[in-house]
């Protein structure tokens, strides 16, 4: 992916951003939390062929965290970012 559209700064080079993993919701509840469940939440994501919702942070810019949708088959952003 060459550019990402930050909701505040607009379209910028991908080099200014940091990938923050797929959007898999909040951390699992602590009751009945096994290491396996926690690690599944932490690591077993981001491996789908298709459109994926994920977090990005504009580290070399405004510093916002936002979600975009990206198609992993073309590596291009398919929707504009929303400030979260």
């Amino acid at each position: 992916m060459v550019t990402i559209t930050c909701p505040i700064c607009g379209k910028r080079s991908q080099k200014e951003f940091r990938y923050g993993n797929e959007d898999v919701g909040p951390m699992p509840d602590e009751t009945d939390l096994t290491p396996e469940k926690y690690l599944e939440y932490l690591y077993s994501n981001g491996n789908h062929t298709g459109i994926q919702k994920e977090w990005w942070c504009h580290v070399k810019g405004c510093g916002t965290w936002f979600i975009i949708e990206r198609d992993t088959r073309t590596n291009l952003q398919v929707s504009s970012g929303d400030v979260k």
Binding site: V2, S13, P35, L39, S44, N47, T49, T72, R73, N75
Partner: protein
């Protein structure tokens, strides 16, 4: 008079059943097939490949082999792996172009020097020839190296491992496929696995685009696509497929006779036997399945190359390509089998270090598949290590902070 071309391995129709099916025709898949047929006597097996043999990472890497990892479990494997290449060249009767020229990994800071001391100690403990050398000695090994303090990351020293070297990646994968086929393995190209059939936690067979196959054992060695294959039977794995790029320059007169790599610059450089400088290492951070190349990477590589080897200024890049590196969180592979699902074996998460370990892991995977018992060499790489917090310590950390093994 027309030249009669002989196929390297014959084409067969898909049998309705096999003793084992290997999904993925890359170096790991073909090596496993080769050793299953040769060492373990399991000849009624098939390799199912979606595209063609070596289409994935096996045909796209820069073919550097080395045994200078940080952890005992990796060193054990890679040391045997390096010793296997001359033997394999003879067995396969194929010129793998193994050039054991040595491997030099550069250090650019005090922290790296600390981390490298662990590398050297581990390597020496495992019997691998690996030593720490200073900047001047680095320049003796690579006369073209710049020791200027004005570059982004000045060279402080490095670890030199003479057993390292380079090969021709195409030769290895074709040689292994031909070798496997000569022992009776069926290689099916252009066939895609669309489902894996499990009943009562036991493998029954696979469904492919050309029909169903009954088999008691399935080995997944599909590179970046392995995760989705494992997901077909509900196994979730912590692997991300990241695009990694590599490129070659025009052929140049020989001036670099070992494999050079630098962590700080994120680059590895070798000069092929044809004279081209093969380089790469830039990896995307976001998972994707494109293996597309970017001009940012090209510019970055040119910048880093000319800083480290100033004589490269003016040379032209000829070709750039990308491939998929399936990365696990601790920079080590994930290998397990006969766990929750009987007959299911997984060999993946090899990231950008899969080529060097292909044949040796193929040998031990073959042992694993034939005997159903995990060989000692592959024990550390079980998927369960994450939940047990026994990560493989391949990520370099400063010497005073552990754990690293």
């Amino acid at each position: 008079m027309a030249i009669k071309l002989k196929r390297m391995w014959p084409e067969y129709n898909l049998n309705s059943s096999y003793d084992a099916v290997i999904i993925g025709g890359g170096i790991h898949g073909c090596a496993t097939a080769y050793y299953l047929a040769k060492d373990q006597g399991m000849k009624n097996i098939a390799v199912i490949e979606k595209n063609c043999i070596g289409y994935g990472g096996s045909g796209r890497n820069t073919a550097i082999v080395r045994a200078n990892q940080r952890t005992q479990s990796n060193l054990r494997l890679h040391k045997e792996g390096i010793e296997l290449w001359p033997q394999l060249t003879c067995e396969l009767d194929f010129n793998l172009m193994f050039n054991q020229s040595g491997h030099l990994s550069l250090a650019h800071s005090e922290a790296t020097i600390g981390a490298f001391r662990i590398n050297v100690s581990s390597a020496q403990l495992s019997g691998v020839d690996c030593k720490f050398i200073d900047a001047e000695e680095c320049r003796e090994l690579v006369p073209a190296l710049s020791l200027s303090r004005d570059i982004t990351h000045p060279v402080c020293g490095g670890i030199y491992s003479p057993p390292g070297g380079v090969l021709r990646h195409d030769a290895v994968i074709w040689g292994l496929a031909r070798g496997a086929s000569s022992h009776g393995v069926h290689i099916h190209q252009g066939v895609e696995v669309t489902g894996i059939d499990v009943v009562d936690h036991k493998i029954q067979g696979v469904t492919t685009s050309k029909g169903k196959i009954k088999t008691p054992k399935v080995i997944v060695a599909g590179g970046a696509y392995s995760v989705q294959l494992a997901e077909m039977i509900g196994i979730k794995l912590p692997i991300h497929p990241l695009t990694i790029q590599a490129m070659v320059t025009q052929p140049l007169k020989p001036f670099l006779n070992l494999a050079l790599s630098s962590g700080a610059y994120d680059i590895y450089i070798t000069q092929t036997l044809k004279g081209e400088i093969a380089t790469g290492a830039h990896m995307d951070e976001a998972p994707n399945f494109t293996s597309s190349v970017t001009s940012i990477c090209l510019k970055h590589q040119a910048q880093m190359l000319t800083e480290l080897l100033p004589c490269m200024k003016g040379a032209r890049f000829m070709r750039i390509w990308g491939g998929l590196a399936d990365m696990a969180p601790d920079m080590a592979p994930i290998i397990f089998g006969n766990d929750e699902i009987e007959g299911f074996f997984f060999n993946g998460a090899w990231g950008y270090y899969g080529f060097k370990s292909g044949p040796i892991v193929g040998k031990y995977m073959a042992q694993f598949v034939a005997t159903d018992v995990t060989p000692h060499h592959l024990e550390q790489f079980t998927n369960k290590r994450f939940a047990r917090f026994r990560y493989t310590g391949e990520r370099a950390v400063p010497a005073q902070i552990g754990p690293w093994n």
